[in-house]
């Protein structure tokens, strides 16, 4: 730990010296910036910091998943085994909520879950950063999820019925009078409130996790001994809450899909919606 101390201390100072006070642990890009403050390449990396780490995760996911799928062994081994566990677990979870028809949504929800989970966890690795601690990342994911859900709605109901559903399924004169109000309410909920809540929850949680890690690391640099135990505790918390946040994103996306799907599954989705007071 002694050998690493100056580096960490330097990094903390560097972070503190940056114009907006850094609230996260330094990653290799901030170190590069500290070392080569004038390089345009480094400047580019700093500008696209979140994207760089996201692409890292996307590359990892693509590489392992494609390798796993190419093997096609009857007895899965190594990477195939890992991916089959993921696929089977997500399949069981999604079809448990959506019924057997939900298997067509497994690729989308699964990719989303694995992607978010690994992005959340990436912040725990030294010199890495969680891209999900930036709102730009999470809002993109939330928008994708929202559009996917509405697209499923249009596909399942047909465009006319989908619009009717948005207008609150008007019956009689009163229903017709209420159409504009229902449209405004439904549109604002489904296209504004849903992505906002999804993205803000994830972004706020992950960025506060990162801040927590940063604060404990700072304490570790300032004081010896006790803060280290806190740091280990914080790491365990981050490990757990990252998983919980990724899971909540998956769960809510699944529930939104189940809510917009035709009514035969409605009782199931109601049950699950009641069970998840997130």
């Amino acid at each position: 730990m002694n050998a690493a101390d100056p580096v960490i201390a330097d990094a903390v100072h560097a972070a503190a010296a940056a114009a907006p006070p850094a609230e996260e642990l330094p990653n290799f890009i901030t170190l590069l910036e500290h070392l080569f403050p004038k390089s345009p390449m480094v400047h580019f990396l700093v500008r696209w910091e979140n994207i760089v780490f996201s692409l890292l995760i996307l590359g990892l996911i693509s590489y392992t998943a494609l390798r796993a799928a190419r093997k096609q062994g009857f007895l899965p081994k190594g990477v195939q085994n890992v991916w089959e566990i993921i696929v089977e677990g997500i399949e069981a979870f999604v079809t448990g909520i959506l019924g057997p028809k939900g298997i067509e949504h497994v690729p989308f929800l699964g990719t989303l879950f694995v992607y978010i989970l690994l992005q959340n966890w990436l912040g725990m690795i030294p010199l890495m950063k969680s891209p999900t601690s930036a709102w730009s990342t999470t809002i993109a994911l939330a928008l994708i999820s929202t559009v996917y859900v509405q697209w499923v709605g249009i596909k399942e109901h047909g465009f006319f019925n989908y619009v009717k559903h948005l207008a609150g399924n008007p019956v009689g004169v009163l229903g017709l009078v209420l159409v504009p109000l229902m449209l405004i309410i439904n549109l604002s909920i489904e296209y504004l409130a849903v992505p906002l809540s999804l993205s803000l929850r994830l972004f706020a949680n992950v960025s506060s996790e990162d801040k927590l890690l940063y604060k404990f690391a700072e304490l570790n640099v300032m004081y010896r001994g006790l803060p280290f135990a806190f740091q280990i505790f914080a790491n365990a918390l981050v490990l757990l809450f990252s998983l919980v946040q990724a899971f909540v994103f998956l769960l809510l996306s699944t529930v939104y899909i189940s809510l917009i799907m035709p009514h035969e599954e409605e009782h199931v989705s109601h049950e699950t919606a009641q069970e998840t007071p997130h």
Partner: protein
């Protein structure tokens, strides 16, 4: 509004969207579907093989039952046959015993009759002898002079002789 502008970089959002969508569609086609297919086919194969295993087990159980009933039948038959043989043996033994008893009775009877015949024969020959002897005694008495005392004495001697012979 400032908060949004500070935290949301539209270019970043756009790149993130595009990157995720590219990866999603690629993985959907080349990873998720094959993996789901593999898992499904494996599940089906397991179910089929499990079914066939269960069927074979049931077959084996019925076969075992059949064999057991067969075996029981065979055992019962064997027992019955043994019983039969035992009874036959007993019957034969009884018959042999009876036969032997009858034969021994027979030979006993025969021996008895033979003995009686012999006794009769002996009696007859004795009678003849007695007669002969009497004649002989009479001859002697007649050939000698009739002396009463002497004759009496002689007769007594002869009788004694006869008694001794008998």
């Amino acid at each position: 509004m400032e908060f949004f502008q500070e935290n949301i970089h539209l270019k970043e959002v756009f790149v993130q969207l595009v990157a995720f969508l590219i990866v999603f569609f690629t993985l959907k086609k080349f990873a998720w579907k094959p993996l789901l297919r593999i898992i499904q086919s494996r599940r089906e194969r397991f179910e089929n093989e499990w079914g066939s295993i269960e069927k074979t087990k049931r077959d084996v159980a019925t076969l075992k039952q059949d064999y057991q009933t067969h075996l029981q039948k065979i055992e019962e038959e064997a027992r019955a046959k043994m019983q039969e043989a035992l009874q036959e043996g007993r019957r034969v033994a009884r018959e042999i015993q009876e036969k032997a008893r009858a034969e021994s009775q027979d030979s006993f009877e025969k021996a008895k009759t033979n003995l009686e015949i012999e006794v009769q024969k002996a009696r007859i020959s004795l009678r003849h002898e007695i007669a002969e002897l009497s004649i002989h005694v009479a001859e002697k008495i007649l050939s000698e002079k009739l002396d009463t005392a002497k004759q009496e004495k002689k007769a007594l001697e002869i009788l004694q002789e006869l008694e001794k012979k008998l």
